[in-house]
């Protein structure tokens, strides 16, 4: 992973999200290799255990980013219309308090073109329609 590339990506993602809402962003490129977006407002239909639409998201970069798209985790208490759709992948390992969000592998992931903003856009599309078999294809 090239931190000199990732840091500007984080900043650009922050700028992009700030235009729509105001979540807290943080990251750790030393140990956990992750970018955290806290208090992100999820689309209609999503709800946490407090009954609000706010949840946290982790982009797990790993040392191989950006060769490979990051894994995505969301707050473990998020539900969609009271249910846990298949995109919430409970059997997978996840950081404490989170659940893996099964975002489909992008077959054309290209590290020269795609970045964290791409991932966030993909996540947004998927969150809008989490019950679709492949939310990306049906978006």
């Amino acid at each position: 992973m090239n931190p000199n590339r990732v840091v500007p990506e984080v900043q650009e993602l922050h700028e992009m999200i700030k235009q729509r809402q105001n979540p807290i962003m943080s990251y750790d490129l030393a140990d956990e290799l992750e970018v955290r977006i806290e208090q992100l407002r999820f689309p209609e239909g999503w709800e946490n255990s407090d009954g609000t639409r706010f949840g946290d998201v982790i982009f797990d970069l790993s040392r191989t980013y950006p060769r490979k798209q990051p894994k995505v985790y969301v707050s473990g208490d998020m539900r969609y219309e009271g249910d846990s759709p298949h995109v919430l992948y409970a059997r997978s390992v996840a950081p404490a308090g989170f659940i893996k969000y099964c975002i489909h592998t992008l077959p054309d992931w290209d590290p020269a073109e795609h970045d964290l903003k791409t991932m966030f856009n993909v996540l947004e599309v998927s969150l809008e329609n989490p019950r679709a078999k492949n939310p990306l294809m049906e978006a």
Binding site: V7, M25, D28, P111
Partner: protein, 597 residues
Amino acid sequence: MDQSATASVTSGEVTDGLELVLTAAQVEKLREWTLQDDGIERFAYIYCERQNGRLLAREIDPIPAEDCAVMESSAVRPELAVERERLGAAMEEGLVPIMVHSHPFSQRPGFSALDDDIMESYRKWLGKLYPETPLGFVVVGHRGVDTAVYTDPTEPQRDRLGVDIVGEWTLDTPLETPSTAPDVSVDADRYDRSIRALTDDGQQQVADTTVGIAGLGGLGSMVALQLARFGVQEFVFADPDVVERSNLPRIYGATAADIGRDKVDVVGEQVVRANPDAEIRAYNDRVQAVPERVLAECDVVIGAVDRLSARLYCNEFATRHLRYYIDGGVAIETDDDERVTEERGLIQLVAPGVTACLDCLGRNDPEHLRVEEMSDDEIEADIERGYIDEDVRSPEPAITPLNGMAASSISRLFTKLVTGYSSPTDYLRFDGLDEELVDVGTHPSNDCITCGADGMLGVGEQAFETDALVGGDIDVSSPASEAEAVEATTITDDTLQEASSDTGTADDGTVGPAPDPAGTASAAGPAAQAIESTAWGSTADPGAAGAQQTADSSMSPASDCSPSGATRLSRAARERKWLLGLAVLAFVAVKWLRSRS
């Protein structure tokens, strides 16, 4: 100007404290700029990352005529404002600036008296402002360069600066550069035959080369042993695995007694036996966990690993540190009828900035990486969901003859790379079924995420400015930072000899070294114990070895996992003591009976 007040102290010697490292492409860029047909002297800066005594050239900055106060056939110097801006920016970024000018009229140039004065004036100016930053100078001619460096710019002591050119064989014309004196000796008698092929200098180059090997399995063990016999003396090994029974057909020198022992130790001992001058720093861990400064000492890193993430780490590491990386791998494909349909080997040389890196060639399959990073539970779940095939959990087929071909190809590539007797290949592919050997030239891609324009060429250890970051004050230390650093075991002929001579029976009945009141032996850790067990095996009497072999041949897989060779030997020793005691008892009993009668 008072000459006595400005005189520097020039040793004329090449310092062993610093070395300038450039890629061949950077050298060609410098030559192209500084040696133009008009015969005018020209100027350029090289901005370097300082890493463990190496100045890694990150950028060549040619200074055009409009930015120069003087630029003619006998003198060149940038405008003062340009000097301030360029040098200030570099120093503020923590980079070491090297000031380069040309002598287009010279084949093998040297610094003039005027150059001496100018260098000293730079030292007096910049040494006060940036006392921690060395000051380097290069004068370029058509066939050679000369260099100078103030390692401590607060002092007038000036030495020559060694120059290492990555991918030197690709230069349009050879370039003579200052180089540091060799620091190890070569046994001319032992290496007589290879000296006849490679010359004294070639053999010396081999002995001076530090080699890192990631992966000490079937392929890596063969490479290590070949290079040890060839005369390499300094090794760094990294492998997290222990020897399993299914490894024995491929790991050279490994025996059933080594089952359960760290691969790095088993192969390390074989290497020392092959070359008693060898010293191995053995890390029983992934290559990613080896401290960065240790791996950066390796002139050549060889990847013989089965994990793509480890290969890509080595690839990235080589690019950042301007070190050579040789990536080797083999694969056997079989069809549903278990027939071999493909048998191939790939060997790629990564000479940063000169040849393609793994990412340039797209050898970075994201799906492969994704699966590699999954836990067993995740793989299980993904198999159930049908995302991945069941066979991802099956070991790949492997046979030693194919490893042998690849190992020899790697060793040959290494030989060419280090001795320069012939240009090394960039990429070698062999097909074991068709007996085809294909040699392909490669070029780095400017768009490459690792070695391209926005990549990591020559950036050294990973670090970046934290001032303007989202989230602000956070720890962004490099991956293999001290906190994560793992300990190495050092394996040398001495450690083997000590292990051999110190073995005895300890109070607990196990075979091991003599008690160490100072407790220093424990610092060597489990690997040291492993060394001792092998040494014991090699010096055990034939009867014991034979007994051991017999036992091994009838061993079940389950029993292979339990006692090590040392434990079995210690048991044999204990059994013999018991037998001896019985014999003494019988003797005493007979004597007593006789005396009674």
